[in-house]
């Protein structure tokens, strides 16, 4: 989904400050879907995701002047979402699980033909497991996965957006993938699917 131009978003926020409901609605409709996915990567309950997305918009619209065009609006909005989600998860006492997998053991697994374990159950079921496992990632890794896989942004763009070197982004993606793979594999084995 293309982002609204900086000039347009600044004008919309000016109208939000002046309590223009149409401007509020336009921003809400435009960013809701992406924001939902961003939060959904870390929160399983759809109701809570919806609440967190709405709260994010309310915080943004309370003081729209805090956005000064120094980053993209999406980055700024998602920064608010990340903080609210962190607070919510802390309140729920949900901590991401530490991964026990090492790079080498994962690579052994993926390089092994027996990784075709996924073929034994339907793809919808695998996807559900992947979704559960994605929520166990630390925020930095799920954020990187979001910008690359959902928004399909380039490495350079994600690096600028998150304010960290390209090597860090690559590493976050790589380790995120390892953790999800490890988690999926363990859950499948737990379901009695053999390698």
């Amino acid at each position: 989904m293309s982002d609204i131009s900086l000039l347009e978003i600044l004008e919309l926020l000016r109208r939000v400050s002046a309590q223009d409901q149409r401007a509020v609605e336009k921003i809400y409709r435009h960013y809701y879907g992406a924001l939902f996915v961003f939060i959904r990567l870390r929160v399983s309950d759809d109701g809570a995701v919806q609440e967190l997305a709405n709260d994010t918009f309310l915080v943004a619209f309370k003081q729209p002047e805090r956005f000064r065009g120094e980053s993209s609006f999406k980055t700024w909005l998602f920064g608010i979402a990340k903080n609210l989600t962190n607070n919510w998860l802390r309140a729920q006492k949900t901590q991401p699980l530490a991964s026990s997998v090492s790079d080498d053991s994962f690579l052994d697994a993926v390089a092994d033909d027996s990784w075709s374990v996924f073929d034994q159950i339907d793809s919808k079921q695998v996807r559900q497991i992947v979704h559960k496992c994605l929520r166990l990632l630390p925020p930095t890794q799920s954020e990187a996965l979001y910008w690359v896989f959902f928004e399909e942004e380039s490495l350079q763009s994600v690096s600028q957006r998150l304010g960290c070197p390209e090597g860090t982004i690559k590493s976050r993606l790589f380790h995120g993938k390892l953790k999800v793979a490890d988690c999926v594999k363990r859950r499948l084995l737990g379901m009695g699917v053999s390698q």
Partner: protein
């Protein structure tokens, strides 16, 4: 152990899947996949992960959902408006002094106010600014600095009109390396980025920077 080639392949895979690789990197990944049959499973898992992330997207919010949100937003607006900040009740300073000192205290206060007014007026006259130039709620602090294009003048009608849209005023003007820099105060601080962009679009300025406090 991972070889450096394997490491490079693994780190490039997510971008390969997203179609975000340079021609050189893309060719490297393709060659690696051709050479290492086992690497196909890693690509397959990357695709699965990507598809799973994409599958999280919800439908567009329904009208009912948007309306519920708008009601919530309206409610916060009302709350903000009704929750005027409570001022602490000032303690009566006269209670600190004995009653016979009241006349001298009042005289001192009047003298102080007169002095401050006189100082303020002198300062305005010295700077050659008319008090009417100041908008009611300008805070006198610059919100942005713009660098004027050579052929433009800060007192041209078009430039002043562009400022007028946001009720902004020029606080001061200096020439640095032959370029005129103007420090501008906007009536509403959040208008500063838009004003900066408008002046750029108008062709009046070369660039602008927002000032932080």
């Amino acid at each position: 152990m991972m070889t450096s080639e394997q490491n490079r392949f693994e780190q490039l895979l997510p971008f390969y899947e997203a179609g975000q690789l340079s021609v050189e990197d893309q060719s490297f990944v393709k060659k690696y996949l051709d050479k290492h049959l086992g690497a196909v499973s890693s690509l397959a898992f990357t695709k699965l992960l990507s598809a799973a992330v994409k599958a999280l997207v919800p439908d567009q919010p329904s009208d009912a959902q948007v309306n519920t949100f708008l009601d919530k937003w309206q409610a916060t607006q009302t709350t903000q408006a009704t929750q005027a900040p409570k001022m602490a009740q000032p303690q009566d300073v006269r209670s600190w002094f004995p009653s016979f000192s009241y006349p001298s205290f009042s005289f001192g206060a009047i003298a102080l106010c007169t002095g401050l007014l006189w100082l303020g007026y002198s300062w305005q006259v010295d700077r050659g600014l008319s008090p009417t130039l100041k908008y009611e709620r300008l805070d006198g602090r610059a919100d942005l600095v713009v660098v004027l294009e050579d052929q433009w003048h800060a007192d041209s009608k078009a430039f002043l009109a562009a400022l007028g849209v946001f009720e902004a005023v020029i606080l001061n003007s200096v020439v640095i390396d032959g370029k005129r820099h103007l420090r501008i105060d906007c009536k509403r601080r959040n208008d500063a980025p838009l004003l900066g962009h408008n002046l750029l679009q108008l062709g009046a300025t070369q660039n602008f920077s927002l000032l932080k406090y």
